[in-house]
């Protein structure tokens, strides 16, 4: 595995009253990792994701993705970087209401000058929503809208998939399907950074959990997945009781 993301001494200062600042964060993410970023609201986790995505620039420090120093890119260079390298899934889908599902998926490809409707339909098919390709977002369920957003994030075959509370606006079932999709994408070799406040979700899918608190990484845990006997995980009877 090689290094895909490197943050070096990254600080992001906001004007007073806006939370989510980052304070001297340094971390690397390897290619193929599924990493969860956890922390309470205002801890800086979404800020971190936005900076890695090139949606925002740090106050100081450097961010490199796939060897590209984002700080050295012009605004248009940064836009190209986002378009070609990053897939971003948000909590609130952000689909354009006056475009159909398949047209929404094609936006990043059009920006790249490479809009092939067949590819968009193929993605919608893989995500199990090909039959609603011509519907407008208002006529899609939350789960369907999030799938459209994922297809849009994948259309340019990005190196890095960033997901900010992707299940936050979904019911339990749609949320689980959504996460199963991320797992599938991870198995296909994609690197995934998932922002969530839900520890159950994070530990279920990610093998690495970064904990943020007040703009700092306070823990970087790598989780193991050994086969354990049930009694090694839960004991309904306590140790003391056996005495």
């Amino acid at each position: 595995m090689s290094e895909l993301v490197r943050l070096t001494d990254v600080t992001k200062v906001y004007q007073e009253g806006i939370t989510g600042a980052l304070n001297d964060v340094s971390v690397t993410v390897e290619e193929g990792e599924f990493t969860a970023i956890m922390g309470p609201s205002g801890s800086g986790k979404s800020t971190m994701l936005n900076l890695i995505a090139g949606l925002d620039r740090p106050t100081s420090g450097t961010i490199a993705v796939g060897g590209t120093d984002l700080g050295k890119l012009s605004e248009s260079g940064l836009a190209r970087f986002r378009r070609d390298r990053i897939g971003f899934v948000f909590q609130f889908f952000y689909l354009l209401p006056n475009l159909t599902a398949v047209e929404n998926v094609l936006i990043p490809a059009q920006l790249k000058g490479n809009a092939v409707p067949g590819r968009a339909l193929e993605l919608l098919d893989q995500l199990g929503i090909k039959d609603v390709a011509d519907r407008y977002p208002a006529r899609l369920s939350g789960g369907q809208q999030q799938r459209v957003a994922i297809a849009r994030a994948l259309i340019n075959n990005p190196t890095l998939l960033l997901a900010d509370e992707p299940t936050g606006a979904l019911d339990t079932t749609s949320g689980e399907q959504m996460m199963d999709l991320l797992v599938q994408l991870h198995r296909d070799g994609r690197t995934i950074l998932l922002v969530t406040h839900d520890a159950k979700l994070a530990t279920r899918y990610a093998t690495r959990v970064l904990s943020l608190m007040d703009g700092r990484i306070v823990d970087d845990a790598r989780l193991e997945s050994p086969e354990r006997a049930p009694s090694e995980v839960i004991r309904v009877r306590s140790e003391e009781a056996s005495q």
Partner: protein, 210 residues
């Protein structure tokens, strides 16, 4: 449920540590005996069983989260028989093969137990609670290293529980998946507790009370 009166009261920390532990040991022991007793009654309600069948079914029901030795089962059956809640089926020959069935009193006792909510003190029998109290005194209030280590252990436990829940669902054991889900949510709460203790707000509170 008959709980011990441990004498835990609003006294200072030195005196509290010991009684809390005593309460745990005794309370948990009591709960275990009660759960096993009614577990046995519940299984016998389905059909008459002999000792080894009770042991096997009980362990299967708990999905490997509670291993019970055959001696405990026999002791429990003997006590239940003495109290008139179960009775032997057929003749008393080879004790190992003797089957038991539920008596009408046993059915009544089981139904009453099932209809009562769990009440009494919250069971906190993990060592972290006592560790935390001692560390507060010994480490001059700097709990961060302990909290960080504990948090990591909880994260790993959450992962293990997630996998156990998945396995239970795959095996069609919805009842067991529910039990694991309960453990998952408890561990999530433990994790939140660690975060709360680590946060600035609680740090500041701790300094004020010094």
């Amino acid at each position: 449920m008959d709980k011990t009166d441990s004498g835990v009261g609003p006294c200072d920390l030195d005196i509290r540590i010991a009684p809390i532990h005593t309460l745990n040991t005794y309370g948990v022991w009591l709960v275990e005996r009660l759960s096993l007793k009614y577990g046995v009654l519940g299984l016998l309600k389905e059909e008459p069983l002999h000792g080894y069948e009770v042991k096997n079914r009980f362990e299967a029901m708990l999905g490997g989260t509670w291993e019970v030795n055959i001696g405990q089962i026999y002791t429990t059956l003997q006590r239940l028989e003495r109290d008139g809640l179960v009775r032997p089926v057929g003749s008393r020959g080879d004790r190992g093969k003797l089957q038991y069935e539920l008596s009408p009193e046993g059915k009544k006792a089981l139904n009453e137990w099932l209809s009562q909510p769990d009440s009494g003190p919250q069971q906190l029998h993990e060592e972290i609670y006592v560790k935390l109290l001692l560390a507060t005194r010994i480490a001059n209030g700097d709990l961060q290293p302990m909290l960080a280590r504990q948090k990591r252990a909880y994260l790993q436990r959450l992962r293990d529980l997630n996998r156990l829940e998945d396995r239970a669902r795959r095996d069609g054991r919805i009842d067991l998946a529910r039990l694991v889900r309960g453990a998952l949510l408890h561990t999530e709460a433990d994790l939140k507790w660690m975060d709360e203790l680590s946060s600035e707000r609680f740090g500041a509170e701790a300094r004020r009370t010094e």
